[in-house]
Symmetry: C2
Subunit: 210 residues, 2 copies
DNA sequence: ATAATGATTTGAATTAATTAACAGGAGGAG
DNA sequence: CTCCTCCTGTTAATTAATTCAAATCATTAT
């Protein structure tokens, strides 16, 4: 096996996963690519092609077994494995993310929150105490931290990223508008909320005109 | 003109826009595709190809004029035009978005916040009063609302979306994990934060293994 | 049992996106 | 003024992604 799965497919997997989860909830046991395509608004062809990348879980004349497909995609995405995360920056966005229940369900355990603001330090978010950044190094030596979620102001993002990378983090989820690039082999996902908004604006303009 | 610009290109524009903005800030007047490619981590070819979609702003032997390119991309994205927005759902995420200064800079004016929780109604976020959902209809009849930002629980997303669509919104920025589909010709951008996190998890696993 | 149906698999064909190559204009040095 | 270098616009080549279509297997009905 081990034929390489393209990133385009990978980025669609969470979406499949979500839809399958919904199907499970309403107790639908099996589904054909055709019906799934109608629900998701993509072609049946693509679904079959995508799902085939990691071995045929479908059965001709039957469709896909929702549960096993769900599990399989989960396995590929790494839901069978748990990741520990910390949030750095307990501002509005950090706070929102810390309260986001979905992450835990998906295998991401928040084990620490850090901030530099003395007024925030000592407060609790979702049962987790906000620690001062001074304690970050100590904390990361005593705990395995897989992912650092950065919700700090742009100007300090690079510095903080360097630090957590040095301390052995495996991935960084960066919410600062500044793109992050590191020499370490740390996996980085930059989130740019306002980019999405800008695209929305473009599409609205487009629709108004054409 | 009017050769169609692909969505792949459009989705890259905000990124160009950001980098150009950074260049302006440090007073760099001109830039070549080559240098920009190094900064952004994409090929120079692609940059030239992209920028060419909307007419040659570059000059041979010189490069691109940062300021005029910045303005031009802004124009395409619709930064010259302002959009009014409302946030529905004043929970953690709604609160975070309401406090996000960047949106205003990019042409998006928040003019209303709505929630159903009586404890939240009447409070202010970033100078804007939280109104009860009961007042939404009235509000939208007295104000032009271009975009509704939905940060409500999944189970009520569809209903709220229908409502704002009926009331004449042009675009919806949906933060609920549930994908949104409407019959109206309202432009929808679904944001799925946890999808990004899932991909991060996948990439970490991938790197660990090989 | 057997035929008909429905839905996957597989691989080819098409379409889209990205990268590479190149011809030629603009700027700068001498 | 002339040459040389730089860097774009553009076309061509490559690679990736998506769709189509034939072959085939499970299920269901007769």
């Amino acid at each position: 096996m081990a034929k390489k799965i393209s990133m385009a497919v990978i980025r669609r997997l969470p979406r499949y996963y979500r839809y399958l989860s919904d199907l499970l909830r309403v107790d639908i046991k099996r589904i054909s690519s055709k019906e799934l395509s109608q629900r998701m608004g993509i072609t049946a062809s693509q679904i079959r092609q995508d799902l085939n990348c990691f071995g045929g879980f479908g059965q001709q004349g039957y469709g896909y077994n929702v549960e096993s497909l769900y599990k399989e995609i989960g396995k590929i995405l790494g839901v069978d494995r748990r990741f520990t995360t910390i949030i750095i920056g307990a501002g509005n966005m950090g706070n929102a993310l810390a309260n986001y229940e979905n992450f835990k369900k998906r295998g991401f355990d928040l084990i620490g929150i850090f901030d530099i603001n003395p007024n925030r330090v000592g407060q609790y978010i979702n049962g987790i105490e906000i620690m001062h950044m001074d304690r970050l190094e100590e904390f990361m030596k005593n705990n395995v931290v897989d992912i650092a979620i950065l919700t700090v102001p742009s100007h300090s993002t690079a510095e903080v990223a360097e630090k957590v990378a040095d301390l052995g983090v495996k991935g960084i989820w960066n919410f600062s508008p500044q793109d992050l690039k590191l020499s370490h082999n740390v996996v980085i996902e930059n989130v740019h909320l306002s980019d999405g908004l800008a695209v929305l604006g473009y599409r609205i303009k487009e629709q108004e005109q054409g």
